[in-house]
């Protein structure tokens, strides 16, 4: 049956429905007028042709169910209300990836309003006869078809019909329009505006629309803990806390925040979020899951964040540091990002297959981390929802298809191109120092050379790199050795050489002299290329490739960081917001596409995105603005006067269970155990025996977990060795990802296994013992020890109830361990550090138990 025939036949059937409906309702006018004010689609219904009456009739059935939802005649926001429905329910057949035999596409106004042979899906001239509306309401020939997995809800049908009634206009999906700053009107107005944090303008504007206000500000102690955990991942020390509480200046909190932003623990904490996103791991991830050498990349991320490297450079160096003119060690190390995909060295694996797989992985990681778009669909076919044609996917992939490392890792630590890099932060610091000296020295030498008295080849000098100049200056046989800096050059050259001997190798990106040809792969199968080789290119829905930019990863980075790119700044700032406030403004941080969530505060998101760019991609500036906002400083207690469990109005402060790493770090820190050393190869704290062995291939060099000794047991959790097929259980039990794939939003679960881990794991016991020891050594009586314990973990003293509960626990434990000192000694012997023999074992054991309990409580493991 042709479409028109089917349509005619359906209309005949519909007439019967209409007649039946007429009988039921008495008169059409009554039926119609009853509905008119509830459903504006009928307003257009002056002609009242057969099909239109059907709408009324069928609609009445819907309205019975939909009555609860308030009907509205307000203008419908296509991007927010309609596009998600079309995308989720219709595009699978009528979207960008439409089969050739389907003539109708609904992903553009032009397509939706085109003539389908005497009728249109959307008929702007006569909306009520729009086929789209007829079909979604039709009972005998419905769309989506009855057998479709996804059906429209009645509310969605109503929305679609209303939208068509209002003209069925399309607009671009919000995330593909470059952001602009649009400030909401502030009721207060006037000069107060200058003193209000812009974030609060947006939040207040929406809150006031609902007649609510900000929650009261959190207690200063709570706020100090919150800001410190948010920015640095550790609570404030007792001294820092006291200093902040003593500070009576109006900007005491802002000063406190600045101190936090300048701590080196800031970069360590913020780096974790990035490392989750880019799937940083210390092993290959597949097959043998052997060691790989790329940890200098991790250390570079930490120091870049501490140095507040502008985020556009941060991105550019990672994607294309090797393609910058005369790249330095840092730029090269940063390209470890390109090498971060899991790799295999499985015997028998087909090289070409893994070449494709590795490239898919890198392309899709870029999608999730920077574009905010899941691209995986487009590997096999044009994206079902988002405007990503399959060809564009492969064009994007082509940027990565020319890197020179082999597709299979041969199970080697340093496969493919590597560079020598500092092996920990102290080496990095020394290296930077020497490089500063080098810069000054070259500068002085260049000045001296401009003096005509020195005879040397100035052209050769100008062309040389700094290191070549240094060698020339240090070489006693070179003409440059006559310069006054010769001795200093000799010394510096030796120092650099000796430092570099301690360097390690790290995986980097390097392009082949001739790029590999990239083809579209049919269904994503490596051995089914189609068509001519593609030139590297970008997703056109997100703006054009910058004019004159090179068609390589550097050009790609320029596209991503250009002010007109619609998503990159939004995606980045949304994740910064998420890590600060607990949830993103877009609650699907990995997906800003048509299937993603609409922002809770779109104008705020856009404002922040533009501010990020205008500030010179200044992360610390953005974080400072966020944590000093009134929005952040509110009490996090749930409010009786606001029905907003998901905090979509941001009407209370952030509160969530802390990340695995933070939970462990707090324990180490409170027991004075945290080793301040930064960077270096991953560390291996205590781990139950046999966990790696139980999974590993016998030939794997990570089959046996050999735990560390000494200080390495107590390093920050950021540095815990990340074996991708079996990360440390204290990490995964608390929702840390495996880093085989990108993770931009961790789940936050509560499980019984977490409880067991908090109270029984070796390192937790050792931390608690050291914390107990600290309390006993630093305070002399029970109440001041309790005070310090609570102050360390909750940044405040105990309430009366808390003190009573814990003093009761202490007494029980004292009694029990005094009666059985062997048990006390057994408990105190857990962990490598010897117990302090000067302390009474029963008392120490009791305090250990008390500390262990508070460390496991929601006072310690929750942000509030």
């Amino acid at each position: 049956m042709t479409k028109n025939a089917r349509r005619a036949s359906r209309n005949r059937a519909d007439e019967a429905v209409v007649r039946a409906t007429l009988r039921g309702h008495g008169s059409i006018d009554r039926a119609g007028s009853d509905l008119l004010h509830r459903w504006p689609v009928c307003v257009y219904n002056s002609g009242m042709r057969t099909s239109n009456i059907v709408i009324v009739a069928v609609t009445s059935l819907i309205l019975v169910d939909a009555r609860a939802a308030e009907p509205t005649s307000a203008a419908i926001d296509f991007s927010r209300e309609i596009l998600p429905i079309l995308s989720d329910k219709c595009f699978v057949c009528h979207g960008p990836d439409t089969d050739e035999d389907v003539t109708l596409r609904l992903d553009s106004y032009e397509a939706a309003t085109s003539d389908l042979g005497g009728y249109r899906a959307i008929d702007p001239d006569d909306p009520a006869s729009s086929e789209l509306v007829l079909r979604i309401l039709s009972e005998d020939d419905p769309m989506p078809p009855a057998e479709a997995e996804k059906q429209l809800t009645d509310a969605e049908k109503r929305l679609l019909a209303q939208w068509v009634a209002q003209g069925g206009e399309y607009s671009q999906h919000w995330a593909f329009i470059p952001p602009k700053k649009r400030l909401p009107a502030l009721p207060d107005g006037g000069d107060t505006q200058a003193t209000i944090n812009p974030i609060d303008w947006f939040v207040a504007a929406k809150q006031r629309g609902r007649s609510i206000d900000f929650a009261p500000e959190a207690a200063p102690e709570t706020l100090a803990r919150r800001a410190s955990l948010t920015l640095c991942g550790l609570p404030p020390g007792p001294e820092e806390l006291a200093e902040f509480l003593r500070d009576r200046r109006a900007d005491a909190y802002e000063r406190y925040v600045d101190r936090l932003l300048n701590k080196s623990s800031f970069g360590e904490h913020q780096a974790r979020h990035w490392l989750d996103a880019v799937r940083y791991g210390d092993t290959h991830g597949l097959h043998l899951d052997n060691r790989r050498g790329v940890y200098p990349y991790r250390d570079w991320v930490v120091s870049s964040l501490n140095a507040n490297l502008p985020l556009d450079d941060f991105i550019t160096w990672q994607l294309a540091g090797d393609l910058l003119p005369d790249p330095g060690v840092e730029q090269l190390v940063a390209t470890g990002y390109v090498r971060m995909n899991p790799t295999s060295g499985e015997g028998g694996a087909i090289e070409a297959e893994y070449q494709a797989k590795n490239n898919f992985d890198r392309t899709e990681n870029l999608g999730a981390v920077l574009l905010g778009m899941t691209l995986t669909c487009a590997r096999c076919h044009t994206h079902k929802y988002d405007p990503v044609p399959q060809t564009e996917y492969y064009r994007l992939m082509a940027f990565f298809n020319s890197t020179s490392e082999p597709a299979l890792d041969r199970n080697k630590y340093d496969y493919g191109p590597t560079t020598k890099a500092p092996s920990d932060q102290s080496q990095w610091a020394r290296w930077r120092l020497l490089n500063d000296r080098l810069g000054q020295l070259i500068h002085a030498a260049t000045d001296e050379l401009s003096d005509a008295a020195v005879v040397a080849d100035r052209n050769a000098w100008a062309d040389a790199t700094d290191r070549e100049k240094l060698e020339a200056l240090a070489d006693p046989d070179s003409p440059f050795s006559s310069l006054s800096v010769h001795t200093e050059a000799t010394l510096l050259s030796l120092e650099l050489e000796s430092l570099e001997q301690g360097f390690t190798t790290t995986l980097v990106a390097k392009d082949l002299p001739t790029p590999r040809p990239t083809h579209v792969l049919s269904r994503g199968e490596y051995n089914r290329p189609i068509g001519d080789p593609l030139e590297p290119g970008v997703l056109t829905a997100m703006g054009d490739f910058p004019e004159g930019a090179p068609r390589n990863r550097l050009g790609l980075a320029q596209w991503l960081t250009s002010p007109s790119h619609p998503t990159v700044a939004r995606v980045l700032i949304n994740r910064v917001w998420q890590h600060t406030f607990g949830h993103g403004l877009v609650r699907t941080p990995e997906d800003f596409g048509l299937q993603g969530a609409y922002p809770t505060h779109p104008d705020l998101l856009d404002w922040l995105a533009v501010e990020l760019q205008e500030s010179g991609w200044d992360l610390k500036h953005m974080l400072r603005m966020m944590v000093t906002s009134r929005t952040f400083r509110q009490s996090s207690a749930w409010r009786e006067d606001v029905d907003d469990p998901e905090n979509r109005l941001w009407s209370r402060g952030p509160s969530y269970r802390l990340d695995a790493e933070v939970i462990r770090d707090i324990g180490l820190w409170s027991g004075n155990l945290l080793d301040p050393m930064m960077g270096g190869e991953g560390v291996k704290p205590y781990q139950p025996a046999g966990m790696w062995q139980a999974l590993a291939h016998p030939a794997s060099n990570t089959k046996k977990y050999e735990r560390d000794h000494g200080q390495r047991l107590y390093r920050r959790s950021l540095y815990v060795y990340w074996k991708r097929t079996s990360p440390h259980p204290m990490m995964t039990l608390f929702d840390a990802p495996d880093r085989e794939t990108s993770c931009v939003r961790r789940s936050r679960t509560s499980t019984a296994l977490q409880s067991l881990a908090l109270l029984n794991e070796t390192q937790r016991i050792e931390m608690a013992r050291m914390l107990g020891q600290r309390l006993m050594l630093q305070r002399s009586d029970v109440s001041s020890r309790m005070d310090l314990l609570f102050r360390l973990l909750a940044s405040r003293g105990p309430s009366q109830t808390e003190a009573e509960a814990f003093e009761e626990l202490l007494q029980k434990m004292l009694q029990r361990y005094r009666g059985n000192v062997d048990d006390a000694r057994a408990l105190l012997s857990i962990g490598d550090i010897a117990r302090d023999e000067s302390l009474d074992p029963a008392e120490h054991a009791a305090w250990t138990q008390v500390a262990l309990t508070l460390l496991a409580s929601d006072l310690a493991i929750i942000l509030y």
């Binding site: 996804k150 059906q151 992985d361 995986t376 139980a694 296994l753 409880s755």
Partner: protein, 504 residues
Amino acid sequence: MNFLETLHRQQLATTRRQLFGRTALGLGTASMAGLLGDELSAAGTNASTLGGGLHHLPKAKRVIYLFMSGGPSQHDLWDYKPKLADMFGEQLPAEVRDGQRITGMTANQKSGLPLCPSKYKFTKHDNNQDGVWISELLPHTAKVARELCVVHSTFTEAINHDPAVTYIQTGSQIAGRPSLGAWLSYGLGSMNEDLPHYVVMHAHSKYAEQSLFNRLWGPGFLPADHQGMLLRSGGDPVLYLSNPPGVTSSDRRDQLDALAAINQEQHRHFGNPEILARIKQHEMAYRMQTSVPELMDFSSESESTFELYGEEARTPGTFAACCLNARRLAERGVRNIQIFHRGWDAHNRLPTEHESQCKDIDQGCAALVHDLRQRGMLDDTLVIWGGEFGRTVYCQGNLTRENYGRDHHPRCFTVWMAGGGVKAGITYGRTDDYGYNIVNADGSPMIPRPEKEHWTPGTMHIHDLNATILHLLGIDHRKLTYRYQGRDFRLTDVDGHVMHDLIA
């Protein structure tokens, strides 16, 4: 209603909304069983009215998956090819291979692709049809032939271990998707308050020569509490289960009481319902400290149990002990049990390795099926046995009558199921005389190409297997979805066909 109750209700309402929001139509109620615990799901939701199922009445309440990692040889265990006996050492005909890609290990070997008949004797055992051929390597399993539904036409596309194991256990060759077990946990939740609902064991093997990965029982993008809990044979059976030395159960009780007092105070102040959820988990942990040791203590098992499972079952970590444990877990209401046994990747000395491997597993498999039957539990317990792919009919390495190796073969392999609503005592699917390609019932060639919703009768793609497992447990594989990265993902991706031919 006081403030706390209001908050608590708000939270439940939220969770409902989130569930409805992120899952396909009508799924919310069901998955709530997994997220909010039985107490809530009992309050008039689908899961309770559907006898524990999610979309329809389930045939099985629980599943025990015996996963043979590495790829057991169907040629030497299940798929009897008598005509090969006369073709020893001949080259595999090109038309049989039909352009099939083969791994780098045998693609270029000097000996080519010499045919390699099995050295093992096959016997036909009675089942509920005209019998099933089983090799002498599985004498115990042969005794439960009447219970088995043996599928010779299982197939996959992956040809290397890592992608193939990841494919069959997570529905995708690329890491990152939730495992089968995590999907079941998400969809069905728990039947037991004292034990986690998804338990994974690793059985010992002398030839454990492939890796396993956390992702095979991992949650992927599902909330992390849906990951499988490893029940270990050495040290604490559950990570961090035991109190440290010098800490008794009564000490722990005191600690938990103080902890609850603090947390309740915290909740009074902040009203965050997650705090209450955490108090519940601390209590469950405390109960597990009793229930897990009780589970692992076989002293209450009778002598006849050890006659059935073999003396090896007394040694923790053996496959037999894992099977006995699986039965004990099933008795305690654990829904979802997996045993991983490695060592099946027989590239070079298949006879030595497979003899050892079969000895490891044979009695345990048979005992488990028999034991579940005699306890009246087999009808609602689905048992599955199989690996990630099969092995080649041609030899890898040196071929002699006594020793040979076999490479990876994705085009057909044998999987069996028992109980849980599958037809007992049948075989399904046929392969050609080479055991290379799946053929139609009349022996004519058939090469399935699983594109779009395509399914070829007589075959069982691994997506079909997974769809069938879900179906038997009361889940429609097309409806159990989770929104991630803008897409509603499911275990079977865009494929999967419920194997109604196999269902009783």
